[in-house]
């Protein structure tokens, strides 16, 4: 991913849309507390898989905290890596979908059209981040848990692929509010549920085309890297390295 300011400027001039949504994950702040996970479940109507399906490896998490062990006792370290859809600029999941259920929005989001998805699951294979999650069965909520479901987010039926949307419903309402006032969305005005809840502020979200946004600044950090950069997927999520001695 080019960090060149000129290129950024070029991009914002040429791009049809004025926004480019990106996220920064500061691993030096992330404590692995998983507040983001529940926030995501609450916001996005993620199904409750239950013990049996969870044991089959089918629990759905749009954001998950991966834990990697390093070393042996007593010099052992556990390191956390929050992984969500990276909203790649060159997303491997997009071209392989035979029905265009996975497509790229003009604002850099990697969108999944649930109604169009027929469940061939090629996108899931081709995502190197294993960010895509599949509904193996129809979802179910014991009454009245379904009262909590967010009316802004559709519930996915069985046989459909789903994944992190950067809380597109929040982006939309934020943009509408800004549009009504005839201005651009301010930095920090739109926060996906995970970003909003993160106690340590390890997650930062914003418009990369705004040169003054926190995301734009943090992306330039020397600690920054992308997951599996060599694959050339150009993710919209930048990780900031955890520091250690």
């Amino acid at each position: 991913m080019s960090q060149d300011p000129q290129a950024t400027e070029e991009y914002s001039k040429t791009a049809a849309s004025p926004y480019k949504w990106e996220m920064v994950v500061d691993l030096d702040r992330c404590s692995g507390c998983e507040a983001c996970v529940v926030a995501c479940h609450a916001e996005n109507n993620i199904r409750i898989s239950g013990e049996e399906e969870a044991a089959e490896g089918r629990a759905i998490n749009w954001i998950r905290i991966e834990r990697y062990w390093e070393g042996d006792y007593p010099n052992v370290k556990a390191k956390f890596l929050p992984v969500m859809c990276q909203h790649c600029d060159d997303a491997p999941c997009e071209p392989v979908c035979p029905v265009y259920a996975s497509y790229h929005t003009p604002e850099g989001l990697n969108a999944q059209v649930y109604n169009r998805c027929i469940g061939v699951r090629y996108c899931g294979n081709n995502c190197p981040y294993v960010a895509r999650q599949f509904n193996w069965f129809d979802p179910h909520w014991d009454e009245p848990l379904a009262e909590q479901l967010n009316p802004d987010v559709s519930v996915r039926s069985g046989g459909v692929m789903e994944k992190c949307t950067f809380c597109v419903q929040r982006i939309r309402s934020g943009k509408e509010a800004a549009h009504k006032e005839g201005r651009r969305v301010r930095d920090g005005e739109i926060t996906p549920a995970c970003v909003q809840s993160c106690p340590t502020s390890a997650l930062i979200f914003g418009d990369r085309n705004d040169p003054d946004s926190r995301v734009s600044h943090l992306k330039k950090s020397r600690r920054g890297f992308h997951l599996m950069e060599s694959l050339g997927t150009h993710p919209a999520v930048t990780y900031l390295r955890r520091l250690s001695e």
């Binding site: 404590s31 013990e51 990697y68």
Partner: protein, 731 residues
């Protein structure tokens, strides 16, 4: 974080302009009648109401998103001083308490024998009449066990129990009684200090699980973010010392394992080096006593006993003094031993030696403030207090038991024989919303509203720099035929007649709440009317005076004699220490009926929906146990069976088990799932604080037949492959 404030202002502005705050002006019973068109309810448009989280005792401010009369999401209140807009997993899952399918939907009367779990629905009138009858019969002999409540409700309950000559016991299994006692003995105050982590640049923590459940985890989380990356040039360094690598420890720059229960000894070692190398200046008050305390053991001896090298001890001491704003915390496993209080006092002494008391980036106490409710949280009960209560029931001086959101039969080890309270109580009334292990023993259940359906306030003056007096308001109409506990008690008080009626003249808790807030809000010399001020307070989520001066604290640490930890069970029969720890999601078990929390992977083992036994790989190998094998853990008090997770970050002589599972009741998600490690624990106490030493029991582990498929997020956990990191450039 201005941006978040701005967001909230916008949200609240919208609410205020568009709806003139339905939640604040109306009474709970006529809030949002959805069949009638209401100007305030626009389909598809969300309203946000402030409230206060009551999932733990931290008292985080929340805002609740409500659409078409249903609560959709809980977020942190950006203006609240405790959590600054953030909220933990448990707080957000409170929605699943409100909409839990197993919530009690109305008053119930026991049928059949006690404990059979047979209940018959009754009317409130029947229930109240019977209860009042029992209150009359057992006059002066009632007792109430509740989870800690504060504010108006606490005041009401205290007043009523006083008048009834009853005994009110507020019990919290993770109430940090040890810390409170140690701090009282060290600093002469019952208030917990504000640990200014955000401004510290070096943190040495003796097991304090401040990123998980210790005191105020969200507030510590916010501070931790600032501690690491909040300052342009300073990145705080963090060392955690404890026998098990907790979530908190895994965030440390260095985790130093040590032998369980020897944290105090290590503190002595560090103090000794500080004194030896002249790294600390002591006041005359401490000079003699500290020299005595910290020279009681040789460094070599300490190193052998703690299993921390002498070099490391020296290094820690030197790092502490070379930092600008070092801070030392103690808790978790360090406090869970029979010498817990001593250990924490020693840690406080270290804080004194590094000059952390009253310093920015250290321990601070604010000047006491007059809160809206003249009473803050009454003292919490320790396990020994509960034993005392049990004794009263046995003697017959207490006969009527009230339970409110407390589940002692689940959270206390069976070895304490707390069920004798239930055996001897002649009548048991529960106000809980769920049929938990204890409530299913009740004779009469008068279920409370969910906190999201009720009025309330929370007073938080511990562990924050400014006091937070938060309000919670009903954000949705009551779903079921339940009644707020405050209203129910007031009703009963009025039925009992004078003199009670006079002492609590209000009809509802809401009236009482408002009248108490009136005194405070009008005191704050403002020309506005109370109603305006009250509305503003509700809009803000509460009241938190700024610019509170810091209090000068006198350290009164006595001369301390280190006591080694004592363990139940001899080391030949029971070779392993057992450490049950509160689970991140389920806590002590109260989260076990929330599917989101059941499905929340434990961050380190990634286990979900169950219990497991953690074993060090070397220990497992020596015992011939493989990951996923089923084992039986036996102590002198009980045994449990579960599958093994090999856990690299664990002292080889220790096993660890998450708490929170193994309920006998508590709804479909919790009942019969996993095992309760409390079964293993014996009656081992920290004498000074009276708290249960959860780490004070020894166990043995043996492999048994069978294996079980425990759900795990880490798929490769099924392989004995330790994760490899690649192309991530070092996390």
């Amino acid at each position: 974080m201005n941006l978040y404030r701005r967001t909230l202002l916008k949200i609240l502005g919208l609410t205020a302009a568009g709806s003139s705050l339905p939640g604040c002006e109306r009474e709970v019973h006529n809030l949002v009648p959805y069949l009638l068109p209401d100007d305030n309810i626009v389909p598809g448009v969300a309203n946000w109401y402030t409230s206060t989280c009551q999932e733990c005792e931290a008292g985080c401010g929340t805002i609740v998103r409500v659409m078409e009369g249903r609560a959709k999401k809980i977020e942190g209140n950006p203006k609240h001083p405790v959590n600054e807009g953030k909220l933990c997993a448990r707080g957000q899952a409170a929605l699943q308490g409100l909409y839990n399918p197993d919530r009690l939907q109305g008053p119930l009367r026991r049928e059949g024998k006690r404990g059979q779990g047979q209940f018959r629905p009754i009317t409130w009138e029947e229930g109240l009449a019977e209860w009042v009858e029992q209150l009359r019969t057992h006059a002066g002999k009632s007792a109430m066990i509740t989870r800690p409540v504060s504010g108006t409700l606490a005041s009401l309950l205290t007043t009523l129990m006083d008048s009834l000559s009853g005994r009110l016991v507020m019990y919290e299994s993770t109430g940090e009684q040890t810390l409170r006692t140690a701090n009282h003995l060290s600093f002469g105050t019952h208030d917990l200090p504000y640990y200014d982590l955000a401004n510290a640049d070096y943190l040495l923590s003796f097991g304090a699980p401040f990123l998980e459940h210790w005191l105020s985890p969200v507030s510590f989380g916010v501070a931790y973010g600032k501690f690491r990356q909040g300052r342009p040039l300073v990145r705080g360094r963090f060392i955690q010392v404890e026998p098990r690598l907790s979530l908190t420890a895994s965030n440390a720059d260095q985790w130093i394992p040590l032998r369980p229960g020897t944290e105090g000894l290590l503190a002595i070692g560090i103090g000794q080096v500080l004194l030896r190398d002249g790294l600390t200046e002591l006041s005359s008050f401490h000079r003699t006593s500290f020299h005595q305390t910290f020279s009681a053991f040789s460094l070599e001896d300490i190193s052998t006993k703690t299993e921390v090298s002498e070099e490391m001890i020296t290094q820690l001491a030197h790092e502490l003094t070379s930092a600008n704003a070092p801070l030392i915390l103690g808790g978790g496993p360090a406090a869970a031993q029979t010498n817990g209080t001593t250990t924490l006092i020693l840690i406080n002494a270290l804080n004194v030696m590094i000059g952390a008391i009253g310093r920015r980036g250290g321990l601070q106490w604010m000047e006491p403030q007059i809160s809206p409710v003249d009473l803050a949280r009454p003292g919490l009960a320790s396990e020994l207090t509960l034993m005392d209560l049990a004794g009263e029931f046995e003697q017959g001086s207490r006969t009527l038991l009230h339970l409110y959101r407390a589940d002692p039969l689940f959270t206390l080890p069976p070895s304490l024989k707390f069920e004798r309270v239930f055996d001897h109580a002649q009548f048991i009334v529960s106000f809980s919303s769920f049929l938990d292990d204890s409530t299913s023993m009740a004779d009469l259940i008068l279920p409370d509203h969910d906190p999201l359906e009720s009025w309330g306030d929370v007073v938080q003056q511990d562990t924050i720099p400014v006091p937070a007096w938060s309000v919670s308001q009903p954000v949705v109409r009551a779903l079921y035929d339940t009644r707020p506990i405050g209203d129910v008690w007031l009703d009963a008080a009025h039925r009992l007649g004078e003199p009670l009626r006079e002492r609590v003249p209000w009809n509802t808790l809401h009236d009482m709440l408002k009248s108490r807030w009136q005194t405070v809000l009008t005191k704050h010399d403002s020309p506005q009317s109370f109603e305006t001020r009250w509305r503003e307070t509700l809009q803000e989520g509460g009241l938190w005076p700024s610019n509170i001066p810091m209090r000068q604290t006198n350290t009164v640490i006595p001369s301390i004699t280190y006591k080694p930890p004592e363990f139940l069970g001899n080391s030949s029969e029971y070779p392993l220490y057992c450490y049950p720890y509160p689970s991140l999601g389920l806590h002590d078990g109260r989260g076990a009926n929330r599917p989101w929390l059941q499905e929340l992977p434990d961050p380190l083992t990634t286990g979900m929906w169950g219990s497991w036994i953690e074993l060090n790989p070397t220990t497992a190998k020596a015992l011939g146990i493989h990951p996923g094998d089923r084992v039986r853990v036996t102590s002198g008090y009980g045994s449990i069976e579960a599958s093994v997770m090999v856990f690299p970050g664990l002292h080889p002589d220790m096993i660890a088990i998450p708490m929170g599972q193994g309920h006998r009741a508590y709804g479909r998600y919790a009942k019969g799932r996993g095992v309760n490690p409390m079964v293993l624990l014996g009656p081992s106490f920290d004498g000074q604080s009276g708290s249960l030493a959860t780490g004070g029991t020894r166990v043995r582990v043996e492999r048994i037949k069978g294996g079980s498929r425990l759900p795990m997020l880490e798929e490769s956990g099924k392989n004995p492959v330790i994760g490899r990191i690649q192309e991530t450039g070092g996390l």
